[in-house]
Subunit: 407 residues, 2 copies
Amino acid sequence: MGFGKAVIAQGGGPTAVINHSLTGAIFEILRGGDVDAVYGAVHGVEGIANENFIDLSHTPTDMLNRIASTTGSALGSTRDKPDENYCAQMFDVLRAHDVRKFYYIGGNDSADTCRIVSQQAESVGYDLKVTHIPKTVDNDLLVNDHTPGFGSAAKFVSHAFAGADMDNRSLPGIYLGVVMGRDAGFLTAASALGCSNHRESPLLVYIPEFAFDTDRFLAQIEETYARFGRCMIAVSEGIRGADGTPILAQLYKDIDRDPHGNYQLSGNGQLADSLASLIKNTVKAKVRADTFGYIQRSFAGAVSAVDAHEACAVAEAAVQFSRQKEFRSGSAAIIRTGEYSVEYQLTTLESVARSTKSMAPEFYDCASAKITESFLNYAKPLIDTLPHCTILNGEPVPQLLRKKSYL
Amino acid sequence: MGFGKAVIAQGGGPTAVINHSLTGAIFEILRGGDVDAVYGAVHGVEGIANENFIDLSHTPTDMLNRIASTTGSALGSTRDKPDENYCAQMFDVLRAHDVRKFYYIGGNDSADTCRIVSQQAESVGYDLKVTHIPKTVDNDLLVNDHTPGFGSAAKFVSHAFAGADMDNRSLPGIYLGVVMGRDAGFLTAASALGCSNHRESPLLVYIPEFAFDTDRFLAQIEETYARFGRCMIAVSEGIRGADGTPILAQLYKDIDRDPHGNYQLSGNGQLADSLASLIKNTVKAKVRADTFGYIQRSFAGAVSAVDAHEACAVAEAAVQFSRQKEFRSGSAAIIRTGEYSVEYQLTTLESVARSTKSMAPEFYDCASAKITESFLNYAKPLIDTLPHCTILNGEPVPQLLRKKSYL
């Protein structure tokens, strides 16, 4: 004994593969033989402040494997962002248990939590190594080529749009799906993976990175519907006007905010229903609007194998980085090194905290509301099984009656 | 030459496996060697009336196989219900092409179309054999133990609820999901397959077969939330008040109706959002509401293998029944013969047309809003891969600080 303990926790929105990161980190921490125990904090930093731990040091391998393939955050999550007092309470608890390493799996808000905790620990002279392990279905962490959780959510969205496209082809009309994505359009762009031959498809895509213009939106739908006799539309929940305010917040003044001050964009159908009303007033067509909601981030039946493997591997790498001499704090990032290969690099917490990554300009053509080939090439390797749809192109039967009537 | 031709078409809402029925029927029709050609009517009976056919007699096997595993209705669908004049126009076209057999894949409205077409053909002395092939995600066709399309949609719903349940466990609150089901609660009941240990789970289920009582609904949520610290709710889109009017139609006077006079319940988030508002006014908790929408019936990534096989087999059986001497019209039905085995029986169009099947009384406990073991046993064999979720039950770490403060 005398190594000190490690605490691991999960923050922010769950994903389909976040438990692969949890168990990947636990296996690697235990393999190191350099901690006295691994504790899991229940519901993230809240569990630390409340001294709510479970001991994971002797959890059977089989249970950890089964936890890995369960969606959601097995330890529970939180959206708490600690301030100085919160940190002081956490440090009282962590010191009492002789905790010297803290691993936190989450997105950019959780990376920011790590940054705050690490700074506060340093300022009070507490030797705590703080490691952030990336995850977010939004795919908007800086430095990273992509993030664990995105591949599985993108797989869900691509299969959902593939199905909705075939459904819409069966009973033509206008279909609109609202996809998660507060600041970044990556997940919404995955809709294009489900609608094959994307240039010639009736799919229009609207993402938060480009100001949403209602008139252009309606004109593009009208044009597409006239051309194809149907129209598919993918919209990010976070689309915003030229002034930066989310369209949903413009339409509904009373929407909730989370503790980080973010608008609560998911968990209702208001954006989809409002856009559907706008469309109905402009185009004479059957309009159906779905909001993909929470299903897309934790659907238990569409996990991408690539995503699951990387979620485990990046957590393992993060634990290895945290063993480096002089390591104080940092985050593990996924870097693409080939088509398709990745490596994991250590980066600073500051480099991934708070700010978000946007879709590369070459991924989206704003003028036509189309996702580009470049995005498809980027995203395809992250999904193990792309949807495949075949269109029945039979031989048209010559018309006997109409011919007759034209004679 | 001289056998006459067969026409096949698809009606009503698409499913994930309706093309397995299409291709299963085509293979069997062609194998019989007793038709001159198989034509597909584009967009159901509408394609017949408009003389819009494609010749499927020489479609490559590989293409048919790929069509089978594509969701949606490959031939296009329609919600048209023919009357006498419509039938007369259809018969002009069918006679011009020497069509003597008509196969229609659809639900109870399509079965009713078959009934009308067959009656009209008989009354005008046109020798047309009319065969209905069952499909509906609603699982509400009479005579049938279950219907093709249900297993895959139930698989989607069970995996969606499994994921949503893990998500809700991570960040506790109240989650409500609105599931398809105008008259029958089968698909909504499949939510219980995703929430393991259903008696002890925080899942409440509301289906159209039992009058929806808002006060009881809110009381049950309040009680569940108090007990579990969270609550999961599955609601059929078709839930109705004691007078039989859908709750959605009570809340919104202007909702659309389809050509059959049915309320358009899917394609918006209104029911989920209204119920969420009601809950928010009663229980102080985070409330999130999703509407599963069109995704659940045609999701390209969660097809049940059992469902796909049966969709093919029941269509094959239907074609075989239609070769029986004296056959005029009929439908093929799926009958369960063991745990788990099925056989296919010929039944009359009248027995499956229009009326709908309800959940068996032993499948649902209205007083507790719980799905019973009996339903789970009924539904499990129809889904090839049930969601599996493992709960992390670690050893709680004794509290050092709180202990101290209690001393």
